[in-house]
Symmetry: C2
Subunit: 225 residues, 2 copies
DNA sequence: TCAAAAGTGTTAAGTTTACACCCATGA
DNA sequence: TCATGGGTGTAAACTTAACACTTTTGA
């Protein structure tokens, strides 16, 4: 039976992470500035090689955790990038994943030690290899998914104002949303719950804080933003 | 620079194809009945190993062509299946792809030589490894894509009746569609063109044949079915 | 002559969009 | 007192869904 496999070549398999975060009305990506050769000074996604004792999905989680210190982060597959010369050093088949997280949850020490920086998604520098294609595809997938499933909340704190939620979706879609229409739609989602807490950091008057109730969402999974 | 890679393990990389075809009002998958060990007698998707001289996408095209004789087939990535023990023989990282084609274009000799058979998608047998998960994911992706892009035409002959088109979409969605509403929507798509030809095979009266005009579609890519 | 698929419009319900002003507060 | 972001409702436009009968023809 080994013969069936043995005649075929083997390949390095890598994962690359497109890490989305939201802050100050902006969508950002976490990028590494390479301070080593090759391609020193160039920007890249966080990546790593698949090991023998882990699934590909687990490799993505591990690589993300190495950079951010976070586990239990929302991640989705983006796709396989497998052209022959995509990595000029060696042939590497890469699996891209996107992750959504709250910028405030991060360990800044760890970011610094990797020369990692948050970069506005509309002002991305050139990236090595095919990382730009990965970002493009991840962004499209994430946008589509965010419109029909409540994944955006992974980029917000547990308690958030409706203005924050609206800015988040404006950043995801890259367009403005009418405030009254937006709030009308939120009002119809019983699983987006108003608390009695008020956030004063964004305005003098203060705004009510809301939370996402996942149990309630599971009973009524209608979502459209 | 080699050192950077050398310390990491390499893996077999495979592609598996979820091949959709449409015939007699039914969506079908092309499956192989293994007439060799291991897992003799069990059903599987068509697959093959990535080679050194081809991209992953090209490997999928090659594997599809080996089975069907067809090139230039519509294919999309489904995802990476990379759990550790998914293939009990050896560790293999598999990329799943789906393909849409017209059953009538196939070379039946070639299918027989691979013990390949069309199976109704609602009556699938058990499949080896994680092939069932691949099919499930492919089906969902295909359904979603077919609702906003005119990919379904890849499963029809160049000339088709509106009844055929409607059955196709009913099979994709697994639900009935109102005939008048369906035809109203088709009527609004200037790139679905009525010809003066009539198909008599489906009814005594005969039905007008239509064609998909891709140039016209490129000028007006609105599509929703 | 009749069975079987082809073809054809209208109306009601629901959804989406556009739009402007008052409120509460801290500086 | 005023600048800033928070909060609120209605009507028109558009989209979707429901619904039934006539036509053509070969067997």
């Amino acid at each position: 039976m080994e013969n069936y496999y043995i005649k075929h070549p083997k390949f390095y398999v890598a994962v690359d992470c497109i890490i989305f975060g939201f802050d100050h009305d902006e969508l950002n990506l976490l990028l590494l500035k390479r301070d080593f050769e090759p391609a020193k000074g160039q920007w890249s996604l966080m990546g790593g090689f698949l090991q023998s004792d882990e699934s590909v999905d687990d490799a993505a989680k591990r690589v993300l955790a190495e950079l951010t210190g976070l586990t239990n982060v929302y991640m989705e597959q983006v796709g396989t990038f497998g052209t022959i010369n995509r990595d000029p050093g060696e042939r590497v088949i890469s699996q891209a994943y996107y992750a959504l997280l709250n910028i405030r949850d991060l360990d800044n020490q760890l970011l610094e030690s990797h020369s990692a920086f948050w970069v506005n998604i509309n002002k991305l520098p050139d990236l090595i290899f095919d990382h730009k294609d990965m970002v493009e595809k991840a962004r499209n997938l994430m946008r589509t998914k965010a419109s029909t499933e409540p994944i955006g909340f992974n980029m917000l704190p547990k308690l958030f104002t409706l203005s924050q939620l609206q800015s988040l979706y404006e950043a995801i879609y890259g367009e403005n949303i009418d405030k009254r229409n937006f709030r009308k739609r939120i009002g119809e989602m019983s699983y987006i719950v108003k608390t009695d807490k008020i956030d004063k950091s964004g305005s003098k008057r203060g705004a009510f804080l809301y939370k996402f109730n996942n149990n309630a969402y599971m009973k009524d999974t209608k979502f459209k933003l």
